[in-house]
Symmetry: C2
Subunit: 460 residues, 2 copies
């Protein structure tokens, strides 16, 4: 928490970090050119299925699925999906300097990023990356996450990624406290949590990977022992977050009641996923340059040729997922009996491993809703989009994983409703405190959209 | 907790409950005859796959699976498995009498029970049971679990069943507190928790379904607030359980460390399940009377004709799963820094939805190990089986679900190691307190074998 309250660091001011990221952008010229899918080097369409696969069998595959569910207006559809069963590591190395925890962040270029270089975790490594025999080619710092003698694990959770586009893909989200000295390589900098949170107010600067790891770090170590609680932040919203994290018995619904709400919905909602060959996926077609929806909606899969200097390989081809529309990810929050509550939504998505996950109040990502057409908005979106400025607690555009997604951006928003305003809720929604939401998150219930928005919240 | 400390009830002594169960047994004569599988009424083998299915498509199906894993000595095998995707309800209605919570338990016959009539929850209902349109034929009391105006939900958790025999089967484990009067039908009795726990010391009397629901009721409401803690039980073992449930920060491993242990194993263990036609399952064959393992091990699926009086239908046929050997389910426990810890094991089983679950220290159910041949015992089994009597905290034979399993019995044991005795542990094991184990259980990590043994623990 001390790190979260510190926006100055002995190493660099936040302004200096911004300059550094700009200079990395300037120093890393690169281009992304669309190329025909059949020309994507190393990738091909499987003869029998039309699935898009890499010749090594690694990375990921684009396949088709048939979805059947009773959880929404559409009972049955087919769509392409990305299958990437390997569990990778997203990890940040932390170390205390002058009594304040600092986090080793990396400037890293990804082809799909709107601003090419973003601030990412110390390590992003697939399993194939870090298990390779030849020690020298392993990603730097990865041993801090694998070797318990080099660091203590502060956070170590398996968390799922976009369930609208991935079939059960997850990464191990880790924060480790280094035991000894940590060399600072080129492209790496020590930042306090407060500094990272400041950078999260600038669009598209902090990567999706960083946001999900940050969301796993509780804003305040929770527990009901008020004697050991640290002093509250001075700002009104920071204090409200702090109190919602430390509440004890003041939540609108008890913890068991929240689990009961989820158990009930899991019994009522059905979700059947069947793999089908990509070639036969209904309402989607493939031309030379893209696998796309016949109605021009949702997303498309395209081929890209990347030329860059800041990556291990200076030139490569890869498929990327392009979204048709910008998305919206929003939490409605409200003080209930004086304590800040978050409105969570049970979200049934094809990539969910157990029918549903806990999502933000509003989420339209790679989805059926169009931000430009209010008639198509999902429930409560109007309250998130149309809120007066003094009710908006957070608002920023953030990009999704630039290693898979091409310029996929979401508007992230947190809007506080007046305490006396009642939103009309169906039973797919539930008000919970930040302590409860954090507890659900630790156990893997919370989807990446909700997590990444939570990761943007700051005590200062 | 008051109910758990009360072994006398204003309604019936425990002796009277035993007499009642005996009289139900006497009043419910029934027979179970083996019949050829092809004669099992309503069931047949699917033409194309050889899978055993019911003509209605309901109940369950016996299919084949191919298992590939790196988690044990056998990397690849095939086996029959029961597919029953419907989520049912296992529910107990509770009500306070004279300030003590009582639980409405049912005397119920199942064909596979070693003693035909067992004490079961108030309601055992499949989804088809309780969603049927004709109100009159719904199971009695089921509305207490579905209608929030009739009762408050104290426990409401989705919990998985045997992952060695079922493909992701789970039930909703519920305890509800009735709001008004509750009629007591024939075959039902009010018991205190203390009385049920006493009956759990008698072999094969309390059903699997009752044990799993009981395991979801914390022995003591947990929390670190020592001011509000109830007085400790007088008995030494009861007090040790009580303290392990209320510990706060005295656990050998922090809560996040336990989650990290699980995350690490989930990354290292692989489990791939592929459905295959039952007909082609390797090393298993079907003759007229059974689907059985060629080596005569594990389990078999047989046909049974049941004639009985205490069920809705007086005569019916069904397939049953018969096990070849008795199983062993055991916890090693030990005081660490004065606090009782339980040795949990990460268990990779084919029916697991997320690779592994938290199992007891020792579990050999429908498995490869033979109780009669110590050379085949899994790690630590010798400590559980060979413990001197004064170290055995619980020991009883319990039967598994008699509606699916025919006379499948397990020896349930809890053995306390001396505080200074170190067991040799691989990294698939971890010591946790009862508070931690209960927290894992609430979130669905703990398998039915471990849960059902925990359900047998008593404060008195």
């Amino acid at each position: 928490m001390r790190s979260a309250m510190t926006d100055a660091s002995p190493f660099h001011s936040t302004g200096e970090v911004l300059d550094w990221l700009s200079s990395r952008n300037a120093a890393s010229p690169f281009s992304v050119e669309p190329i025909p899918l059949e020309c994507v080097d190393g990738w091909s369409f499987e003869e029998s299925t039309g699935n898009l696969v890499h010749k090594s069998g690694k990375f990921f595959r684009v396949e088709g699925i048939r979805v059947e569910t009773n959880a929404g207006p559409v009972a049955r559809w087919e769509q392409p999906i990305i299958d990437q069963p390997e569990i990778g590591i997203l990890g940040i190395v932390a170390k205390e300097f002058d009594g304040v925890l600092h986090f080793l962040m990396q400037a890293k270029m990804e082809p799909g990023n709107p601003s090419p270089v973003q601030l990412t975790p110390t390590v992003q490594a697939t399993r194939s990356n870090y298990t390779q025999v030849h020690q020298g080619s392993r990603p730097p710092y990865v041993d801090y996450f694998l070797d318990l003698t080099r660091a203590t694990r502060l956070v170590d959770q398996l968390q799922f990624e976009q369930a609208s586009a991935f079939l059960g893909k997850r990464n191990r989200n880790m924060v480790v406290l280094a035991a000894g000295g940590v060399p600072v390589l080129d492209n790496f900098r020590w930042l306090t949590m407060g500094q990272v949170k400041q950078l999260l107010r600038i669009p598209n600067l902090v990567s999706m990977e960083a946001r999900t790891v940050l969301s796993c770090i509780p804003l305040v170590a929770n527990g009901c022992d008020s004697a050991s609680a640290p002093p509250a932040p001075a700002g009104e919203f920071g204090r409200a977050l702090f109190e919602s994290m430390l509440e004890c018995g003041q939540a609108m619904h008890g913890d068991d009641e929240v689990l009961s709400w989820l158990a009930d919905l899991r019994c009522r909602y059905e979700l059947r996923i069947e793999r089908v060959p990509l070639r036969t996926v209904d309402a989607w077609s493939r031309d030379r340059f893209a696998i796309a929806h016949d109605g021009g909606r949702y997303f498309s899969v395209v081929g890209a040729r990347v030329e860059a200097t800041s990556r291990e390989v200076a030139r490569w081809d890869q498929p990327l997922v392009k979204s048709v529309e910008k998305g919206l990810i929003g939490f409605l929050i409200k003080r209930i009996h004086g304590v800040l509550h978050f409105l969570i939504q049970a979200k049934v998505e094809p990539g969910n491993v157990d029918i549903l996950s806990v999502g933000p109040t509003v989420q339209c990502v790679l989805g059926a809703e169009s931000v430009s057409d209010p008639a198509s908005w999902p429930p409560l979106a109007d309250l998130v989009v149309g809120a007066p400025a003094e009710r908006v607690r957070y608002s920023c555009t953030q990009a999704e994983e630039g290693g898979r997604f091409y310029h996929v951006e979401n508007e992230y928003r947190v809007v506080e409703l007046p305490a006396d305003e009642d939103a009309q809720l169906s039973d797919g929604y539930c008000w919970v405190t930040l302590r409860q939401l954090n507890d659900l998150l630790r156990h893997g219930y919370v989807n990446i959209e909700a997590r990444n928005l939570l990761g943007c919240l700051s005590l200062i």
